[in-house]
């Protein structure tokens, strides 16, 4: 049985999930997540090792099409929802940190 989830765990998970939670949100979410995880923990041990996992309700197969050129979105259409763009490109914040 995994250890109960702590407030610090939630802060770490939020960091991994790229969500900037403030203290009040952590105080609110951490106990709720602990209760939810305690509830879903009942699932452990339900299925034996010989039960195969199902990731999808129907078998998945690759879908191919003929290699022909078809019209795609124009640059204007692709950029229409961008928070910022410049010279037909997405404009993004600084990617590299100070140490790089």
């Amino acid at each position: 049985m995994p250890e109960p989830i702590s407030r610090d765990d939630v802060a770490h998970l939020a960091d991994l999930a790229r969500i900037d939670l403030d203290d009040a949100e952590l105080d609110h979410l951490a106990p709720q997540l602990a209760v939810i995880l305690e509830s879903v923990a009942s699932i452990q041990g339900v299925a034996d090792d010989d039960v195969p996992p199902t990731s999808h309700p129907v078998p998945l197969t690759n879908v191919f099409r003929e290699d022909v050129v078809v019209p795609g979105l124009t640059a204007e259409q692709a950029l229409a929802g961008a928070p910022a763009s410049d010279e037909q490109r997405f404009s993004v914040p600084r990617i590299l940190g100070d140490e790089q």
């Binding site: 900037d20 609110h28 923990a41 339900v46 990731s55 309700p57 129907v58 998945l60 910022a84 600084r94």
Partner: protein
């Protein structure tokens, strides 16, 4: 008028699509209001676009070439489906104002068939919820009682149909989000077989569970809409490459009220203690009516269904945490820039904190945890194995019976705010609907009457094997015919709140 009656009226030249569309726009203007004052089923109403499409439909019909039987009948679309030229927000601030450059396949098929799109309906943010209270734009209200929830996550679609704001609507069902709102608003909701309706252009919550489907006032209307939107789509790798069964024919056959030769299984694990007594009374009545209609009814046990809720609330967040990683403030949607010279990662974190609501954050973090090293096998891996066991339970049950039945939801519509701070209590509303999503089988919810204790709608759910959606329609239509005769009209005609709204 039902959608089928509106289609007949158009075909007979008794009305025009512009008249029908305008009448529904007028109704929306009269009752939809705001999150504080009205039903609030719609997030965006496209009066101009709908009337243009209606005029084009009328021109086609005048020229003797309607595109489809439903050509000219207006429809509402859940705001999780991409609509070119019309905002698509998924009920989230992170997509506020976003206008997709393309149509979802379902939307494209509606447009090609000539159905004017009235607008986009309200929903729980990214379809996470059972009450439509998690919409960033405020809740939708149940037309039966404006102080109560319309179900979720597709409460907007169900409420729009229940309040006569639209004769037809599209919803999506990941754990019951078409069927459960259908049950608590007295409408018909269908989750097709997984892969039976294209998911292309449907903003994914959990890829292996999401399925678009019809929300209507009658079983026949649902069948007409389902046949229109269903069928193989090469743009969706999960789309089943098989013909759609004859759903309209099945609905018409069922409407005779004769189910002789059909074997129906009552799922033992989906009723009893903890279920609202009024829900169980209406459900038992429905089972008795199936027997009177000639069906043989037996009790069937699906022992692993008791673990379905836990499996679902591990698989869904895991897939959602991955899907929602695309909202990174770089290419579309909201961008929140902290002071100074922030990095892309800092912008991403600030944006996701400001753009996502509590329930979305809760599930992203839960999913990140379930997928993390050390916990994967105990949680996500086990959940996927339970999914196998649930599919086996279904397979064993369908060796004994043709369809399975249960109440759609354990309770009638609860009061707004009642369960907002108790996620576990909220999740329990999906108890009866989730197994079908995990196994990919189709289900329909049809109105079963009103609970004695609160006078609110109850739904009964009919489940069939994968790709046998026609059985859902046959049984659903039979039940609907018998019950409608008993009530002397559609259940929705009894809704007291609707009388107040029509003033």
């Amino acid at each position: 008028m039902t959608a089928a009656e509106q289609a007949e009226s158009l075909a007979a030249g008794e009305t025009t699509s512009v008249e029908l569309t305008q009448a529904h726009l007028d109704r929306i203007a009269a009752v939809d209001g705001t999150a504080e004052s009205g039903v609030h089923a719609f997030l965006h109403v496209d009066a101009e676009g709908a009337l243009e499409q209606a005029a084009a439909s009328d021109a086609r019909r005048a020229a003797g070439s309607p595109a489809h039987a439903l050509d000219g009948v207006p429809i509402a679309v859940k705001d999780v489906l991409a609509t070119s030229g019309l905002p698509t927000t998924c009920g989230s601030k992170i997509l506020e104002g976003w206008v997709p450059p393309y149509d979802a396949t379902v939307v494209r098929r509606l447009k090609e068939a000539g159905l004017p799109i009235l607008g986009k309906t309200n929903m729980d943010e990214f379809a996470m919820g059972s009450s439509t209270e998690h919409s960033a734009y405020g809740p939708t209200r149940n037309p039966w009682d404006l102080g109560r929830i319309p179900g979720g996550s597709g409460g907007g679609s169900a409420a729009a149909v229940a309040a006569y704001e639209a004769p037809l609507a599209i919803g999506t069902d990941t754990g019951g989000s078409i069927r459960q709102p259908g049950a608590v608003t007295g409408t018909v909701g269908v989750k097709p077989t997984y892969g039976g309706v294209s998911r292309y252009g449907l903003v994914a919550l959990a890829n292996s569970l999401d399925q678009a489907g019809p929300v209507t006032r009658t079983v026949l209307d649902a069948a007409l809409l389902h046949e229109l939107i269903g069928g193989h789509d090469p743009l969706d790798s999960t789309s089943v490459d098989q013909p759609v069964p004859a759903l309209v024919a099945a609905a018409r056959e069922g409407a005779s009220g004769d189910l002789t030769g059909l074997k129906v299984g009552v799922i033992a694990e989906l009723s009893g203690d903890g279920w609202q007594p009024g829900v169980m009374t209406r459900f038992q009545e429905s089972v008795d009516l199936l027997v009177k209609a000639g069906a043989e009814v037996v009790e069937v046990s699906c022992p692993t269904f008791v673990h379905a809720l836990a499996a679902y609330y591990l698989i869904l967040p895991a897939e959602a945490s991955s899907n929602l990683a695309k909202f990174d403030a770089m290419r579309y949607g909201l961008r929140v820039v902290p002071e100074g010279d922030p990095s892309a990662e800092e912008v991403m974190k600030a944006t996701r904190d400001a753009g996502f609501g509590d329930e979305v954050k809760r599930r992203i973090i839960l999913g990140t945890y379930a997928l993390s090293s050390g916990y994967y096998d105990a949680y996500y891996g086990q959940a996927q194995k339970v999914r196998t066991l649930i599919s086996r339970d279904f397979a064993a049950a369908y060796e004994q019976v043709d369809v399975l039945v249960s109440p759609t939801a354990p309770t009638t519509a609860f009061e707004l705010g009642e369960k907002l701070d108790d996620p576990l209590a909220m999740y329990l509303n999906d108890l009866a609907t989730i197994p079908a999503n995990l196994a990919g089988v189709p289900g329909i919810s049809v109105p079963a009457g009103l609970a004695d204790e609160d006078g609110l709608p109850v739904g009964v759910q009919v489940l069939a094997p994968a790709l046998a959606d026609d059985r859902c329609y046959r049984v659903g239509a039979a039940l609907e015919t018998i019950l409608t005769d008993k009530w002397g009209g559609q259940l929705l005609e009894q809704a007291p709140a609707l009388e107040g709204l029509s003033a």
